[in-house]
Structures are given as C-alpha cells and as structure tokens.
Amino acid sequence: MQPLIDIKGLSYSYEQGQPALQDINLTIYPGELVALVGQNGAGKTTLVKHCIGLLRPQTGRVTVCGQDAAKTRISHLARQVGFVFQNPDHQIFHDTVQKEVAFGLQNLGLPRDEIEKRVAAALRDVGLQHLAQVYPHRLSRGQRQRVALASVLAMQTRIIILDEPTTGQDSLERLQIMELVRDLNREGHTILFITHDMTLVARYARRVIVLCQGRVIADGSTRDVLSQTQLLAQTLLEPPQITLLANRLNGLLTPGSEVILTVDEMVEHLHKVNGGSIDGPCD
C-alpha cells in the first residue's frame, strides 16, 4: 500500500541549542489511527509540523500524499492534511462561529450550499450547533478549541493531525472528541494525534509512537507499546492505571498473561478467568 506520510532520515534543530528531532523514520499508511506521545519538549509538535510543511527538514525528506512537503505550498497541502493547533486563538478572527468554520472551505473554493452543509455538519459533530451565530471570543477556551476542530473537520481532508485536541475539555467532552476522532477514522480519514493522556491512547489509538528527546523510542501497536512500562518511563510516561493494575495482578496470579488496556477489557478478562459467571464468587 502507498504510504500517506513517509518520513525518512528527518533531523531538525531550532536556531539555538540542541536538535529537536534526530533521524526520524516513520511511515503512516491510509486508515491508521496513530497517537504520538512523549513528555513536553520531546519534539512531538516539531515532528507534526513537518507533515504539513510548516517546518522544512534540515536533513531528510517528508513525503505527504506523494508530494514532497518541503516543496509544496502549505495552502496546497492543506487540501490533503487538516491540522488542529494547540491554541485556537491563533486562527479565530471571524465574528461568528459559523463564518469561522466556513473560512477554510472558502479557501478551497467550494460552492456556497456545499459550504453551508459542511459547516452545519461539522458544528453538529463537535456539539456547537446551537452556538453557530455567537462571537467566538465569547466562548470558553474549551469551546473555542472545538471551533478550531470543526473548522478543520469541515475541510474533510484525507489526513487529520490533532495537536492535543482534548486540552481544556472536561472528561465527557474529552471522550466526545475522541469518539468523533474514532468515527472519522472509521469513515476513512487517517488520523495522527498528540496527547499526554495515556487513558485516551489506550482506549482509542491503534498505533503508538513514543518520542523521547527528539528520537522515536517505540513505534508499534498500542498493546505492544503500552506493555513496555520501563521504556515508557524513560520519557516519564505511565500506562493507564488499569493496565498497571492488570500487570500487578498478572505478576501475582497468572504470569505472562495479556496486557489490559481499558476497564471494559479488564471486566471481560475477569469474567473469562472466573469461568463465565457474571457475579459469582472468586472462590
């Protein structure tokens, strides 16, 4: 299969000081749902900025949808790659939420009725349809974050990159956003998201890339990566509590057993261990 994003030998350092990225090699295929994790300053944002040409590789090469990201205009790449920034205030400048979301679509040169349809759909997806006519700066930070998300969703790009999409959201909103991300992925969008929340990673990501001081130290299926507790500790990450609990129980009861990622899995696993009875006594 043709990769959507292909990064070869990418290194990058900012004006002063240490390299932010060192010899990164990554391939992302269509349909993937990838989480990018690592502590602050590990190079996550620097890495994804290369995927849409905001930063140009100093060495190496980044190919996005078959185009060299360093040689393509960003506003052209924007047709293929949607990018949600950490700070929504950097993009918001219209006087209603609706116009804000429509802006990207106008840049794509879509017809008016198509724009209206897509804006309405995107606002419904992020749960802001009732605020379509409100001045965006009146909204809360979390709501503005979702306006930014909607404005990228509406563009319906093949690849969607989210830089910490759940900051400033309460736990319900966080889940809503991630459910939305999963739905988008099921519809065929390829998704790459940055997060610090390992519970979300465990629950939603299918592949995890771990960055530590500008290097990829782990890249694999969520289950494989989250089982390597010591490797994660290098970059000060910890698997979700339920995984840790399961690991401890495994150590006590059934060594070498499988890795548990979510509470639901744990419940299911316990049932299996318990011989299928739902609330029977554990001996």
Binding site: L54, I74, S75, I92, G104, V152
Partner: protein
C-alpha cells in the same frame, strides 16, 4: 527574524556596565552622528559602535538586525538619489537620460545611511546588553522618570519579540486552512494578510488585559516601590560617562570650527 531587540546574556565588560553609562554612550553616539555630515567622520563613528558590539560579544547576534538595516540604508540612498538636486552627474538610473545620479546626492544619501545605522545600532546594543529591569531601575531611580511611563515603554519593547513569535504562529494557523498567505500573487497575499493581522490584534489585546490583571494581583501601583538591588556606578562607568561628555564638547567645538561638515 525573531530576535531583534532582546537581551542577549553574555559575560562582557559592556554587560557589566551600569545601564546609565550605556545610555549616555548611546545618546552621545546620537549627538555625534547628528553633529557631522562628513561620511568619513560618520564611518569612523559607525566603526566604533561596531567595536563596542564586538566588545560586548553580541555582534553575531545582531547580524540579522544589521542585514535589515542595510536594506533601509539602501532605501535612504535611493531616496536621496531621486530627490536631491545635484550638479555633477555620474550616471543615469534609466537609459535615455532619465533619473540622473549626482555625486552630491550619492554623498548625502551615504552620509544619512551611515548616520542612521550608527544611531540605531548603538541603541540596539544598549538594549541587547542590558536587562530590562535594570533599565527601568536606573530610569526611575537615577533619572527620576515616573515609573508608570517607564514601565509602559519598556513593556512595549519587551512585547516585540513575543508579538513576532505570535505572528508566525497565526500565519501557520491560517496557511493550514488553505489561506494563500504563501501565494506568489502579491494582491492575493495582501488580502490574505488581513487574516493574520486580525487574530494578532485580538491576541495582543487579550494579552494586555491579562498582563494588567497579573500586575494588579501583584500589587502594582499600591504605594512606594522598593528595589531589591541597586546597580552601582563604578569607576569604569564614570570614565565612560566622562569621556562621552568630552567627546560631545569636542564635537561641538570642531563643528563650530567647521570641521566634519561638507557644504553641498
């Protein structure tokens, strides 16, 4: 482009000087630059300014500033060439005896450009080698300027680099939504820049408001201010200030005698 006027931390004689003496030096350079219009005098002045930058180990950091200034200098020369009516025609800018370049205009333009560079650079060196809090301190304590105004001015300066960084982020955010900020078509580009300017203004307003609140919560304007440390005026500082004064008097004297001035 981001680092234009920012404090650059180094260990140097220039850094350790009292802000007051550095300010005196920068004002002295300005006075000397305005006193003369002889290019050789001005070039000498400019080279002393560059020497101070070298002494303060900030010359490399000012490379981008220097580049930007040369562009402005070029524009100054060009303006003089176009508008100054001289007699001795050297060559023509356009074929067919259009836009004559005269020796006098070129000389005037060069003098102005060098003068501008000397003055601007001296102040940038002052800012690059002095911490903002120290500048505020001497301006209010030693020169008895009202604290509110000094603080306002210094905060404005301090915001320039932040503002530039924000501008880059905003441009990114709009480009990513397909806004043709990077378009080759200048007309389209100008239109696209409105989408950068607006969020930038909104962010800055918000930032100012937050700053005001932060200041108030820390008791700004609640009474007489005291300071943690007082920058001492050393012998070296006295020497710098004294020699600046001597140079200014000397320049006045020379100027009265008619040195360093070219009549065109």
């Amino acid at each position: 482009m981001a680092r234009v006027i920012e404090y650059v931390y180094r260990e140097s004689v220039v850094h350790s000087l009292n802000p007051l003496s550095k300010l005196a030096w920068a004002l002295g350079v300005m006075f000397l630059a305005l006193a003369f219009n002889n290019v050789y005098y001005l070039l000498t002045l400019l080279s002393t300014v560059v020497a101070v930058a070298l002494l303060g180990k900030v010359l490399k950091d000012l490379a981008t500033v220097f580049k930007g200034l040369t562009v402005f200098a070029g524009i100054l020369v060009l303006l003089q060439v176009i508008f100054f009516q001289g007699e001795e025609v050297l060559f023509y800018l356009l074929p067919g005896h259009i836009l004559p370049v005269t020796g006098e205009a070129l000389y005037m333009g060069l003098a102005m450009a060098v003068r501008m560079m000397a003055v601007v650079l001296s102040f940038i060196i002052f800012l690059a080698t002095t911490q903002y809090k120290d500048i505020i301190l001497v301006l209010t304590e030693k020169l008895k300027l009202p604290y509110d105004y000094v603080f306002m001015f210094m905060t404005a300066l301090r915001f320039v680099p932040t503002f530039m960084a924000e501008a880059v982020q905003v441009r990114y955010a709009q480009q990513v939504r397909g806004c043709p900020v990077d378009s080759g078509n200048p007309l389209q580009k100008i239109k696209a820049y409105a989408t950068v300017a607006l969020p930038l203004v909104l962010i800055s307003l918000k930032k100012a408001e937050r700053l005001a609140i932060a200041m108030e919560t820390r008791g700004y304007g609640s009474g007489i201010r005291t300071y943690y440390k007082e920058p001492a005026i050393t012998k070296l500082d006295m020497m710098v200030i004294l020699s600046t004064l001597i140079f200014i008097v000397l320049a006045l004297f020379l100027r009265m005698q008619g040195y360093g001035v070219v009549q065109l």
